[in-house]
Amino acid sequence: MELLRHIIFWLFAVLTVGSAVVVVFHPRVIYSAFALLFTFFGVAGLYVFLSADFLAAAQILIYVGGILTLIIFGVFLTAKITTLDIPHQTHQRYVALVPIVMIAAGLFTVVKNTVWPTAPLPHHPTTQVIGELLLTKYLVPFELASILLLAALIGAMRLARYYRKRED
């Protein structure tokens, strides 16, 4: 049983990190977009593994169903594969490695030097507790988030709409 847990965890971990590497380094944008699908699925699998059942469903619905579809539409609407104008390569890779290594080393040091709680708690469904928290303690942020989404909706429509020039 423990071995099985390990196998599943490492499977999802490798899937997530590997497809994230493909997203960042693949020269074709559409390949990056489809690799991002696997990253999102890997993260959703890890949510299930962490017994966050409701969040895993939300991850699939929002990220895979919404955000990724939007990104792929963005690719289709803008990137012409045939034009040479689109940058394909990574730039200044070795200069960028300096801040990356600093960030990663900082995070690793913090993770290694902190005493974390070790035993995971027994699994229980989370949906009811999340719903109660959202409608009692976090009611104001919840409403603010809906206002933010409405504003983003209207703003995105206003920005992306095509305005024809007037003749007069």
Partner: protein
């Protein structure tokens, strides 16, 4: 050996670093947005892992708000991107330099 919180935290650290790498090295606006999404996902995974190991579901509620902001960010970002494409006909980050000094 059990799978501990440290495993998840190291995994998310790697994921976050990959996202930063994408933001710093790619010049395509769409790939930049995708890298930002990877970073947001890494942070979400950290929240969920810590929430699981400390039995406090506040972390999972916060993930919802992060998801909301990510959706809004992608919608507005892609709208800006399409408007830029219409005006400039390019996706290259270096060609958008009106606000650069």
């Amino acid at each position: 050996m059990q799978i501990e919180l440290t495993h998840y935290l190291l995994l998310t650290a790697v994921l976050f670093a990959i996202g930063v790498m994408g933001v710093l090295t790619r010049k395509n606006l769409i790939v930049l947005l995708m890298s930002v999404e990877i970073m947001l996902n890494a942070v979400n995974l950290t929240f969920v892992a810590v929430a699981r190991y400390t039995a406090d579901l506040t972390g999972q509620v916060l993930v919802f708000f992060v998801m909301c902001v990510a959706a809004a960010e992608v919608a507005v970002g892609l709208a800006v991107l399409i408007a830029l494409w219409r005006h400039r006909g390019t996706m290259h980050m270096d060609s958008f330099r009106l606000l650069k000094w």
